[in-house]
Amino acid sequence: MEISLGLFLRLNYLVAITLFLIGLHTMLTHSNLIKKVMGMNIMETGIFLFLVSIGYARQSLAPIVDQGDGVIYANPLVSAIVLTGIVIAVSTTAYTLSMIVKLYERCGTLDVDRLERLRT
């Protein structure tokens, strides 16, 4: 489906892209590190929503047991992709947070601009 059209035909896509943009905006513009991590997670959630929406067709079933002809199944591959994506997102988040904790212990601030000033 053409994406510009899809954004209006299926709410999922619109929400997913909105989430992606909100996340991206937060990551790039906020100076607070925790907010950046939050933005990262929002962005990734948006992408996961988008992925899952691709695999889902209206009234489709979970592809677990063969239920005869004429039944539509959701695409299982995207779910697998999303699972892997979540694992990566979680590990990145955990890693970033651990570094932020260390940074906070060192300088007592979470603000990137403050850090910049501390260093120079």
Binding site: E2, I3, M43, I54, L77, I81, R119
Partner: protein
Amino acid sequence: MLKHLPVLLTVMPLAGAFLVPVFGRSGRGHRMALVTVAVTLLAAVTMLGITAGGEVLRYRVGDWPPPWGIELRVDALGALLASFFALVYLAVTIFAGRDIPGELNPASVHWYWSLLLLLLAGINGVVTAHDLFNLFVFTEVFSLAACGIISIRDRLDSLEAAIKYLILSAVAAGCILLGIALVYMVTGHLNLSYLAAELPMAARLYPKNVLAMVALLTTGFALKSALFPLHVWLPDAHSSAPSPSSALLSGLVVKVGIVALIRLFTTVFTGPVIAALPVPVFMIVMAVGGIIFGALFAMTQRDLKRMLAYSTVTQVGYIYLGFGLLNETALTGALLHIINHALLKSMLFMCAGLFIHRTGKRRIADMAGLARHMPLTMSCFTIGAMAMVGIPVTNGFVSKWHLVLGTLHGGQPLLAGVILLSSLLSSIYYFPVVVAGWFGHPASPPPPGPEGPPSMVWPIVALASLCLILGVWPHLPLRLLGDVARTLLGR
């Protein structure tokens, strides 16, 4: 066994990465890492022998056939890159054996070897992947590992640089994943060959999706490889990391993003797909920006490692320039420059590392008179500087030759002017260092003693000699890469 080589390239370092923390405490970790890297190198060279004739190794993970299962592919390009990357890795690992214990908290030294192997697994994974999602996964693996080897130094500037890198890298990951989602949406495939077959049709049906997808993937991988306006994370990250890490980051990690892009653009986004999109032009413009601004920023640096890091921005620009021109000569030059710069920049960072290890100083001004105490290091640094400028008999010259010839083939003499201008700028920031090193007078001489431990000096010398050898006999990689460029461009 031979059949499993493509997957072993990734699995061996991955296994090593998990075994080192378990068995590798108390100094054994370095030896384990060395053995793993050496075996990986052996595997890569074996595959180079097989694929040099044009054969492509295909491997189905778990024996599932391609559209559903994961496929790995090693062609001559992959094998050549894997071999050279593993070679650089070996040199850096040997070098790190003496450097790292002095730089890090003793409790975290064995973790460093583990991260090093994880990074290698990620790099090899990207080089061998023939599947878009795998490409993404391994990109994340190497990005996380790369952050690991920066932040492990446990100092404020390293931590800060690592966080900056990690966040921008997450942005890149988001872009790549969204791009993958879009591509899957319009084609239903992730395997590169199947994608390539489906995409022309999809591009006609959904041009906007394909446009968005190409833009997202390009942005994502360009961020990972520090293409010009997206390079902001690089100087901090590369200069604050421990020297062996800087060597790997500048030498290899940056290149992996480019390799991924080259794969995508030559196997998937070919012909009609790319013809409608201005991506090559965009790349050339950004590359020119990187070449000029990287050099200008490098000129203003006073910290040796920061200068080298900005020089990497310039060199990445060269590679993108050769790639964006999309003709055979230029692409050969770009591929060759990936290898040459990997050798050179890691060698230069190791020189800087040895200098810092020996004297504890890291400013360029402190290098005056260095040759009196560290003649071998200074000779290698000189070779590296000459190769960066592109003086004949060094390998840098060979790649520059192809790049300039490629710009003329593409009918763009102005771009040749850009390359030459930036060579001049490179000489303006490299040669004063060299001249001061040989003929300057040191303000305070370093403590007396030998140049450095042999295990730190010889890897540098080995890489420097390799740079010269590849400058004098460039035919082996050139012939291979010429073939590769021809096949990649489909001629």
